[in-house]
Symmetry: C2
Subunit: 477 residues, 2 copies
């Protein structure tokens, strides 16, 4: 069925598939080692699930991943190398919790000190932390209680710990906020693995010193664009890969293994490939020989989270004058689950609120017409900062499930049994001469930009070592 392309053949030692942060980091590492490579990206831009837009009035909006924290050392270093400044996320003033019954409760810190379900929520998230400390994020199956945890959903676990509806609502919103999924969809092991990879639950949830610590002055895609500029014409946009074929490494392997990558218009030949795509996009490629069942199963059990990010731009961050931080968590029936102040750095004009629409709420939200979506979001924001929220100067939304390449966000999560079905090697071990990157393959900050970067470095290091061994007269590959 493969279309025989009569188009040009591009040869290099290494081909990197995907121009998000994982692929760019892999290419940068190859560049730094003077390796011969080409990077292909299906979209007409780099950045993948990080997408910075400058709006008509000059406001910079991050539709995708946007934050950086101090323990995300690879992203911090990458930004520093390319001179991309960051600034602290705004969090001064009172946060607002909009409860299920519509009650509006101001608070500071992680959560209100008291209220329905809070004690159980704190206890159970503490338990997640304790269990996560036993997870081996480099070799997940070696985790002592791996099989037990991968056989449950997070929702199973929560219900085994509490039957308080208010506590379960808090836990559900935490899962939605972190994985853009419902607690009943996600493997408990995946939750614990991810908590461990971030260095603890607080790291995931908090701002100062944690995952939401800072933002990029020029948008989170600034380092990506800087890397792409350095790599120049070795980055080829608009090249959507359709198939990857490679020689057998069995007893009858040819002297030099070759990887043949076909896009819609071109054909690439390389000694090694690094595939840095989200799981669903890997799964959509044609592989010859087919992927091993464990690898295929891991990919097939990894749906993308479902999320939309909505921005409302105002003349000023007027909520700050009222002593509000702009941070909110909403348990009511509106579309928005979490709100942050996403205004430009202190010197900049305008005030911006960002809202996140998650999972089941997103399904209902996306079914609305655009005007109804906007009205529903502004209602949510008004419930946090008051009626002035209903009159933004600009409104923009990005429904990630509709993105033709990402098809969801922030990243893929594993459904129950998915990690188990992957076997030892299904997660990220190289498949012949094909190496795997992408934030879903990271042992630290899995799911984050930092995890994407480290996964790219790891895959590049695997490839460099393999080529070095081959060139030293080893296997000849």
């Amino acid at each position: 069925m493969e279309r025989q392309s009569a188009s040009h053949l591009i040869e290099s030692d290494i081909i990197v598939v995907g121009g998000g942060y994982a692929g760019l980091a892999a290419a940068l590492r190859l560049h730094d080692n003077a390796a011969d490579f080409v990077l292909v990206e299906a979209a007409d831009r780099v950045g993948g699930r990080v997408l910075t837009e400058v709006r008509a009035d000059g406001v910079t909006v991050d539709h995708g991943g946007q934050w950086v924290g101090p323990t995300q050392t690879r992203l911090v270093a990458l930004a520093a190398r390319f001179g991309c400044p960051t600034f602290p996320t705004w969090e001064k003033g009172n946060h607002i919790e909009v409860r299920h019954d519509g009650t509006r409760v101001p608070y500071t810190g992680a959560a209100p000190e008291q209220g329905p379900g809070i004690a159980a929520y704190v206890r159970i998230t503490g338990l997640l932390d304790a269990l996560a400390r036993t997870v081996d994020t480099a070799r997940p199956r070696r985790t002592a209680r791996f099989a037990e945890w991968d056989a449950q959903t997070a929702g199973d676990f929560f219900r085994s710990e509490t039957n308080e509806p208010e506590a379960l609502r808090r836990l559900d919103l935490a899962v939605q906020g972190l994985w853009c999924a419902e607690a009943d969809e996600i493997s408990l092991f995946h939750v614990l693995f991810y908590v461990a990879a971030a260095g603890g639950f607080e790291q995931l949830m908090e701002t100062r010193g944690c995952a939401q610590d800072s933002r990029f002055t020029g948008g989170a895609a600034a380092p990506a664009h800087a890397v792409a500029a350095l790599l120049g014409d070795r980055v080829r946009l608009g090249e959507r890969v359709r198939s990857i074929a490679y020689g057998s490494e069995g007893a009858h392997a040819r002297v030099r293994v070759r990887v043949r990558v076909r896009t819609e218009t071109s054909e690439f030949l390389a000694r090694r490939a690094i595939v840095a795509l989200p799981p669903h996009a890997v799964r959509a490629l044609d592989f010859t020989p087919p992927l091993p069942p464990g690898r295929a199963a891991w990919l097939a059990h990894a749906p993308m989270g479902r999320v939309a990010k909505v921005h409302a731009v105002y003349d000023t961050p007027f909520w700050r004058e009222a002593g509000l931080s702009g941070v909110a968590t909403l348990y009511d029936d509106g579309p928005v689950g979490v709100v942050f102040d996403n205004s430009p750095d202190a010197g900049g004009p305008y005030g911006i609120l960002v809202g996140f629409v998650y999972a089941d709420r997103l399904d209902r939200f996306a079914a609305l017409e655009e005007t109804a979506r906007r009205a529903a979001v502004l209602d949510s924001l008004a419930s946090v900062v008051g009626p002035r929220a209903r009159r933004p100067r600009d409104y923009t939304e990005k429904i990630w499930t509709h993105d033709p390449f990402a098809r969801g966000g922030y990243e893929a999560y594993l459904t129950p049994g998915g990690w188990s079905a992957a076997g030892e090697d299904g997660w990220r071990a190289p498949t012949g001469p094909v190496h795997w990157a992408g934030t879903e393959t990271a042992s630290e900050w899995n799911g984050y930009i930092d995890g994407a970067v480290s996964s790219g470095y790891r895959a590049a290091d695997e490839v460099l070592a393999a080529l070095r061994a081959a060139d030293a007269g080893g296997t000849g590959r």
Copy 2:
């Protein structure tokens, strides 16, 4: 990113995507109603997950779906219409159970009358049956305990009912045999839905009068080939669809909605489309506009089962002389979980045993070299019918996870939360002018050939009604 094809444009009222039983049944119904249609199939054959091969020595082997039962009335009628005979599955003699400890226990009927774990197995499968009777297979979400059941895995449920390892092993093998998945991967609701769609657990598991009642003399693809022959050049093989675009049905809809389907070489224009592909293949297409999140989520939570089917051909069905049926269930460490006598009908030569390799066992199996796979399978068969099994005259295997189009088998199942994430309409409600078929969308015999056939008829009826309404001056579509 869409490749602008300069190739020919094919117009018809309806385009059917997929030439498995679902797509063929849809096309047949359109044919019977004198509708104007074309069917495109990516492979160079019809039949999809049904694949009949005539081996070198004339033996007919079904690598895919093969059985038909008396309550599968649509498949029965289809076979009768095209004069495709069937014959009863062989089940005379003693079945063999190879236990975890290697013990070999002869039995007749559904399972040994006594033994470790059997009482609990019978009780729990009876419970599945009782719960399944409350499932609404046409409108799954209306099932009273829908949310509760979709939030658990089948494994969760089994462990809540028993802690006997032997009972759990039996339940696990039943899940493997029915869904080619581990109990910890599959939504309990999906299990109950599927049991209900078949008319009960016994219907799924048993032979006489049930799902494994009969086989097709000319192979299970015979009716498919007969339908394709009738449809003639309206069936286009080797046309792999890449994208589907359709006009908006919002307030500003154009007068006539058009569906534009692009394959690698051609472009098709139609008023309506019927997509009859497995979920992963639907998910791999580019849709413009993008699929609604609920539909996308249902697809993303539907991995294919993992299965290989292996056939060993002997000069005679020698096990029959020893009083053995050739039917076996194996709980040991070998690859094969279930064995059937797959010999030709009484008059035919040769004896054939078929073995099924499921899920986690498949992952290990597929990692072996071909000679090691064959040896392991023949060891399994020898443990059932004795050492003569080690000397077949022919051996063939089909690892469905390696099939480039099916990518697994028998069909897709839903992981926990998947049915919930689908919302009301994500399962099979039409998306604009695109209608959905495939056995995964069937309310009766979901997952079976019969379900594929009924899904095709349903989708065709939807389309015919819509076009009739449009032509009557209704919506103009």
